[in-house]
Amino acid sequence: MSFLDYAPAPESQALLNLRADYGLFIDGQFVAGRGEPFQSINPATEKQIAMIAHADAADVDAAVSAARRAYDKTWSKLSGSDRGKYLFRIARLVQERARELAVAETLDNGKPIKESRDVDVPLVAAWFFYYAGWADKLDHAGVGPTPSARGVAAQVIPWNFPLLMLAWKIAPALAAGNTVVLKPAETTSLTALLFAEILQQADLPAGVVNIVTGGRDTGKALVGHPGVNLVAFTGSTGAGRAIARSVAGTDKKVILELGGKAANIVFDDAPIDQAIEGIVNGIFFNQGHVCCAGSRLLVQESIHDDVIERLKARLSTLRLGDPMDKNTDIGAINSAEQLARIRELTDIGEQEGAERWSPDCVLPETGFWFKPTIFTNVSTSHRIARDEVFGPVLSVLTFRTPAEAVAKANNTPYGLSAGIWTEKGSRMLAVADKLRAGVIWANTFNRFDPASPFGGYKESGYGREGGRHGLAAYLKPAAGRAAARTVTAAPAASVAPAVASPAEKTPVSRKKAAK
């Protein structure tokens, strides 16, 4: 056995106390769903983790009603600083339970524990801390003085970063004073349900956040519900298009964060060792299940062969296998469905004449796995250069001049992110200026920070998440001073289904919140 076959170093799962069944989290309580429960499996072993409740239209209606009640009775009446205290408390609880959340995320999603431990969960806490600070500073969010919340936000999130996407959605919504009904992806509900336990622990007023698990029908019922004021969605462009269509003609605000086919542009004067790391991080981070993944490598022709040789050598050191092992770099593909899609697109890539290469690595027998793969000899017309694969698959194209690099990078219906590698600052800025992408990384890739807005051009969606811009999406300008005072109650009365508030519900104690 060689040293590089590091002895197994599995993360302990002892911290994690999962229930066999999880209900829906509505009005501060776990309740049974009316639909047929479904199983959540570990994609690395295909074994069942837990049974998850399936919310039907009536459950969604109950969740939206609870969110509306919470909005009218408590959340909209709390001061910004009190909302901030809840968010700070949630952030601290996430940090306290970080290890447990990381293990649950890896179990349910298949991503390596080192990523859930070092990236996902720390960013979740960072997002709540960041927006906690904004809660009492909404006047400075860029939508004018005394802005108001939009009301009830319907949020639908994907399976690639289950808990992180939840944080991206919930933190700004709550800071801005909205209440939330969130639907996690069907294959990754677990950490959202653990998060619901954290909300109970944080004493968040009932109904401020509701979590409805289920399939596409659940999501459809949620975004189509007449009682929601805002729809925020992260996921595929196809689903995003359907959502945009379904809310057309209503007064719902929509934020869509959709697919991408990012160009990672490497100029011949790039810091080459760091560029190789950036390329690897750009496409093989999280098995390539990243909407902003650098899936198209545009490399200057003069260094193409050198880059490919170095890249292959580097890929040969990646460790694929048990996601719970602390030394695993590449985990499992999230679902059989996604694995089938990756296989289909890579097969097409080969048929279209691109040259396929993967390092030698043994795939485990059970579970969903795909070797890190690079395609060379790719032209812009190939499907692997145009379609979002959403897997560990890199397409390599070349260019000769900066103008050609920009033209090729922009030649996509998407426009979420891009990367530029060069030691020349003026070129970096000039190229960044011409790229039509929402996020541009220079000499790095796939870095996230709550203070930095994130979002796309063209078919990658609209609206921004993160930073002040991400907050502004959840606010609306005050119509006037008088209107601003009543606006919190007004839309609620006109849209929400009339639901009597139970008399025994007491509003949250502000003193308690202050602790």
């Binding site: 040293f3 590089l4 060792d273 790391e277 790095t444």
Partner: protein, 339 residues
């Protein structure tokens, strides 16, 4: 190694350098070459080093790593207050690191000032490797270590002295002043001259480790250029630090140097060694370094001929970890010898 082999190696190194830089080793030619090397992005380099530092080396891997680390140590004493007695004690420790467990491997070498070489050689006796693969080497710091502030004649005399006294390895310092002011030719020539002085009358040659003193070079770009320069000039090893300035070996600096060594191997097929020195005090830290070596240049570099730790207090921490691995208990510093 025969005289002709050594001459060949010398010749080919020199020729290779001239071919690579496209002419004589003048400041202008070297500058053109060294500034043509791709730059280093500090943030990315440090991120990669931090990532390598998260590898979890447990159970059987840890056991292997601990013994490997011991066998790669240049056990060092470089104090003005050193005495022959201290050097003898150091040699004893080098030969039998853990008196309570004779299965513990020996360290690679003892590293001392030039005037202590005879004492180290005497103390080692038959355990002195003296050019063979078995036994423990004697390494001497030379060339007006640690500052390098002396004339070339004095530096070369320093080297001659140590080699004549039986040193198997010479740890030289580069002239940082010359390097930072762009006099690359001077640095190159000095390394070549020192390498020449490492020859023994019997035709063998002491191994040359070139100390870059990365803490004084300040930027990763400089470290990378100095690494190329030292390798072009024929250094057998590139070494981070003297241990005498505030910033000594760091993982990002060592990673950057390993990348140069890897690129040199790709280019020429020749293997050059790397020695981080100073500031590596714990078994945990040292493990990060061997992970970085294995994942950057490959496991075959984890041999005393290609990788060393310059350290004094590291050995005892590793020994305590080793005892814990065998006994299950952590004994504490009273159960390992001071030096």
């Amino acid at each position: 190694m025969t005289t002709s082999d050594t001459a060949m190696a010398q010749l080919s190194t020199g020729e290779r350098a001239l071919a690579l830089i496209g002419g004589e080793a003048t400041d202008a030619n070297l500058r053109r070459y060294l500034h043509g090397i791709p730059g280093v992005d500090a943030v990315g380099l440090e991120q990669r080093a931090a990532d390598l530092g998260t590898r979890s080396v447990k159970t059987s891997s840890k056991k292997w790593a601990i013994d490997k680390i011991i066998s790669l140590i240049d056990l060092t004493t470089l104090e003005g207050a050193d005495t022959p007695g201290k050097v003898r004690s150091l040699v004893g420790k080098a030969l039998t690191p853990d008196a309570g467990d004779l299965s513990c491997p020996r360290v690679a070498a003892v590293c001392v000032y030039g005037d202590m070489v005879p004492h180290a050689v005497a103390a080692l006796g038959s355990a002195h490797s003296a050019g063979t693969d078995a036994g423990v080497n004697v390494a001497a710091v030379a060339t007006a270590f640690p500052s390098g502030r002396a004339s070339l004649a004095v530096k070369l005399a320093d080297v001659h002295d140590a080699v004549a006294a039986g040193a198997d390895e010479i740890d030289m310092v580069i002239d940082r002043g010359a390097f930072l002011s762009g006099r690359f030719g001077q640095v190159y020539d000095e390394i070549v001259a020192v390498k020449q002085s490492c020859r023994r009358p019997d035709g063998g040659s002491a191994h040359l480790k070139v100390i870059l003193e990365t803490g004084e070079l300040n930027t990763y770009d400089n470290v990378r250029r100095a690494s190329w320069l030292a390798i072009l000039a024929g250094g057998d090893f590139i070494k981070t630090s003297t241990g005498k300035v505030p910033v000594a070996a760091t993982l990002p600096v060592t990673l950057s140097m390993l990348e140069v060594v890897r690129d040199w191997y790709r280019l020429t097929g020749a293997r050059v060694g790397v020695k981080p020195a100073g500031g590596i005090r714990t078994s945990k830290d040292a493990t990060k370094y061997i992970v970085t070596v294995a994942e950057t240049v490959g496991e075959e570099w984890l041999t005393p001929g290609l990788f060393r730790f310059g350290a004094s207090s590291l050995l005892n921490d590793v020994l305590m970890q080793r005892q814990k691995m065998t006994s299950g208990h952590y004994c504490g510093p009273d159960y390992v010898t001071m030096d």
